[in-house]
């Protein structure tokens, strides 16, 4: 499907008009996406829709936002959600301390009495406004739209979710004292969730949805190769195989790709050329984060892990 037919490119980087090409570009940015994820990102950019990512911790949800910001050469604006987050922390806030200081200064200089209303007008100008991530993303001007990462939406509460819904549908913020700020172009929005609770359907409906799975053996090897190029090929394959086995071992917390990379890095730092029992024991803390899991692995499958 050619550009001429479509007439719009969304936020796609120049030279990319197929999802296969995007996949290649992501790869150049050190992110290996499967076909599904590449298609999802392609559509999100092209249709300018938010992308909602779910998956186990450490499968690379946040990484998608980072690589997009690198690839599109735009700033990454991150909003980390937490329980109790509200508009003042996510959108904007008046800098009250500075406003107060401004009044005091005016008083001290004796200018306050002269023109009261002018002083008040001054107080509610951009000088005294603290931009928080959502406003930053909407206010961004020039060049490509920024990447807006709204991380762990499931941690925020329903009230905030409702607010997000509003922002993500018209990308504008109204500040009573100043007016409405509208985004030039919708930011590339990436939402992530760990599914501690089900995010409201209305929010999901606004987004494209993708669930990131653990990669299979071959892709994991490729990811490690790409991200930890210092690792010996033999070590890389051994680590990937071991992690695949760990995932099948019924652990409290099966390792994600993030752990695979940490582990490989730890092994490389220790100068390991290949995986052996001593090395596993020394570096176990970077893959398995539960004492019970470590015990289990040490007990039953040291050999299995390192073998063949």
């Amino acid at each position: 499907m050619s550009e001429a037919v479509n007439g719009r490119r969304g936020a796609l980087p120049p030279g990319v008009s197929l999802s296969g090409e995007l996949k290649e570009r992501l790869r150049e940015g050190s992110y290996l996406a499967g076909e599904g994820l590449a298609t999802a990102i392609f559509l999100a950019l092209k249709l300018q829709k938010p992308l909602f990512l779910e998956g186990e911790a450490g499968v690379g949800k946040t990484e998608v936002a980072k690589v997009l910001s690198r690839m599109l050469q735009t700033p990454l604006i991150r909003l980390q959600c937490y329980e109790g987050i509200d508009v003042n922390q996510a959108v904007y806030e008046w800098d009250y301390a500075r406003q107060l200081l401004h009044i005091r200064t005016a008083e001290a200089l004796g200018t306050a009495g002269e023109d009261r209303s002018r002083l008040e007008d001054e107080l509610y100008t951009r000088r005294f406004l603290v931009n928080r991530p959502l406003l930053q993303a909407i206010e961004h001007r020039g060049g490509n739209p920024p990447v807006l990462l709204i991380d762990e939406v499931d941690r925020a509460d329903d009230e905030f979710e409702a607010y997000l819904l509003e922002i993500l549908s018209d990308y504008s913020v109204t500040i009573p004292e100043i007016g409405t700020v509208r985004a030039e172009r919708p930011p590339v929005a990436i939402l992530t969730s760990n599914r501690t609770r089900e995010v409201h359907d209305a929010l999901k409906r606004r987004c494209l949805y993708f669930f990131i799975d653990h990669p299979d053996m071959e892709r994991e090897v490729e990811i490690v190769r790409l991200r930890v190029p210092d690792a010996e090929e033999r070590l890389t394959r051994q680590v990937a195989r071991a992690v695949q086995r760990l995932r099948g071992m019924d652990l409290y917390k099966p390792p994600g790709v993030a752990e695979t990379l940490d582990w490989t890095e730890a092994l490389v730092a220790l100068g390991a050329k290949e995986l052996d029992e001593a090395m596993i024991e020394a570096t176990m803390g970077s893959v398995l984060k539960y004492h019970e899991d470590q015990q289990r692995v040490l007990l039953q499958s040291l050999n299995l892990l390192a073998g063949s």
């Binding site: 499907m1 479509n6 197929l18 999802s19 076909e35 599904g36 298609t39 999802a40 392609f42 559509l43 092209k46 249709l47 829709k49 779910e54 911790a57 937490y82 329980e83 109790g84 509200d86 003042n88 806030e93 008046w94 009250y96 301390a97 406003q99 107060l100 009044i103 005091r104 008083e107 306050a112 008040e120 107080l123 499931d154 509460d157 009230e159 760990n194 599914r195 501690t196 609770r197 089900e198 359907d201 999901k204 409906r205 494209l208 949805y209 993708f210 669930f211 409290y252 917390k253």
Partner: protein, 381 residues
């Protein structure tokens, strides 16, 4: 070859038809999602099977549980004409597999209830008896009446302090509002404002055992779960059988009959065997540890019958206990005089349970509601 290659305009029609099929098999593929799907198809190569597949998956699915159905429906709809001859067309595969009386109260009694309004009122004192009657002995008519009582029940978790602050007369100093007020008085903070953490109910997680041994109770208990989920409080509901099924979404509709019908559709192993330990473990692995059980009130409704390895159950319960605010076990058998927790699973789980209740009749469910809210249950025992 994908059907969409014939002409361009039918794309939307194809999308609509596919959406209809998905809705029929239980996906929430509403019109806006279908329009999104059609929009996505325009951007991709409709002759390419994978493009169509992924376009649909990112626009029409909204949770991993949808993928399996989507996969099957996709095969039938898009992958060739044999779709119609496929041995299990969606119509029969996804139809309700249960005999209708397994969850729903028989239709007759519901109708009777409708016109028998005055009869209920006249039988006021029997209601009192009914509250204490064991679910296992109740007639369909009595169930219908019990359900009416249950609908008024509220299931609200013990309060916890939220991180969200609200204005209050005392508490932490609220700079923002104090200074804001000071603007009006020429920058002089005349009145100081305060705020403090709001209280919110904790999440309640209900896990109901629907295996064969619980058959005489699970119908009523599911109804109870529905009342909890539909009340609008943060309540999550799961069903334990030979596997774990999350039914929160299905139970969330107001109409109880519909809710139970939906829920029973997703429960594949109604009255099957008991692998309590494995399913409880699955809950901790997949949901609990990730955050759902954290700080929540977790309620298990089960007789503690476990054919599997009880160590698995004990271990899972230990983990839940560490995560949750409070663990409540409801066992209908506890009401029997001289009950001893002899079922091996029950005995293994008890050390990790904070409150042990019976739950065999309406009154005991009320007790449960009190226990969930963190009120003392001593009065009711």
């Amino acid at each position: 070859m994908a059907p969409g290659t014939e002409t361009a305009p039918p794309m939307l029609r194809m999308a609509v038809a596919f959406g209809r099929l998905l809705r029929r098999v239980g996906l929430a593929a509403g019109p806006d999602r279908v329009v999104g799907f059609a929009g996505a198809l325009e951007e991709l190569d409709v002759g390419n099977r994978d493009d169509v597949y992924w376009a649909g998956r990112v626009t029409l699915c909204s949770r991993p549980e949808d993928f399996e159905m989507y996969e099957r429906a996709f095969k039938v709809f898009w992958e060739g004409k044999e779709g119609l001859k496929v041995p299990d067309p969606p119509g029969s595969t996804y139809a309700i597999r249960l005999s209708p009386d397994s969850v729903q109260p028989p239709k007759k009694s519901a109708e009777k209830n409708e016109k028998g309004d005055e009869a209920v009122r006249l039988r006021y004192s029997p209601v009192d008896v009914l509250r204490k009657k064991d679910f296992a002995d109740c007639t369909p008519e009595e169930f219908a009446e019990l359900y009416r009582l249950m609908a008024d029940m509220r299931l609200s978790g013990a309060m916890k302090r939220s991180r969200r602050l609200e204005p209050a007369h005392r508490g932490r100093h609220d700079q923002r509002r104090t200074l804001r007020g000071a603007m009006r008085t020429g920058g002089e903070p005349m009145r100081h404002r305060y705020r403090r953490a709001r209280n919110r109910p904790r999440r309640v997680v209900l896990l109901c055992d629907v295996s064969g041994s619980m058959a005489s109770y699970s119908r009523a208990l599911l109804r109870f779960m529905h009342a909890g989920v539909a009340s609008g409080e943060p309540v999550e509901a799961f069903v334990l059988g030979t596997r774990l099924t999350r039914v929160t979404r299905e139970l969330a509709t107001r109409n109880p009959d519909r809710a139970l019908r939906e829920a029973s559709k997703s429960i594949e192993d109604w009255s099957g065997g008991t692998r309590l330990g494995d399913t409880v473990k699955e809950f901790v692995d997949v949901w609990g540890q990730r955050g759902m059980a954290r700080g929540a009130v977790v309620v298990l409704l089960s007789d503690g019958w476990d054919r599997g390895d009880v160590e698995v159950l004990a271990d899972a319960m230990r983990r839940i206990h560490r995560l949750a605010h409070r663990v409540i076990w409801v066992n209908p058998l506890k009401a029997a005089p001289g009950y001893q927790p002899l079922a091996r699973g029950m005995a293994a789980a008890l050390p990790h349970v904070d409150v042990f209740l019976s739950g065999h009749n309406f009154e005991s469910l009320q007790e449960l509601a009190y226990a969930v809210a963190g009120a003392s249950t001593e009065r009711y025992q």
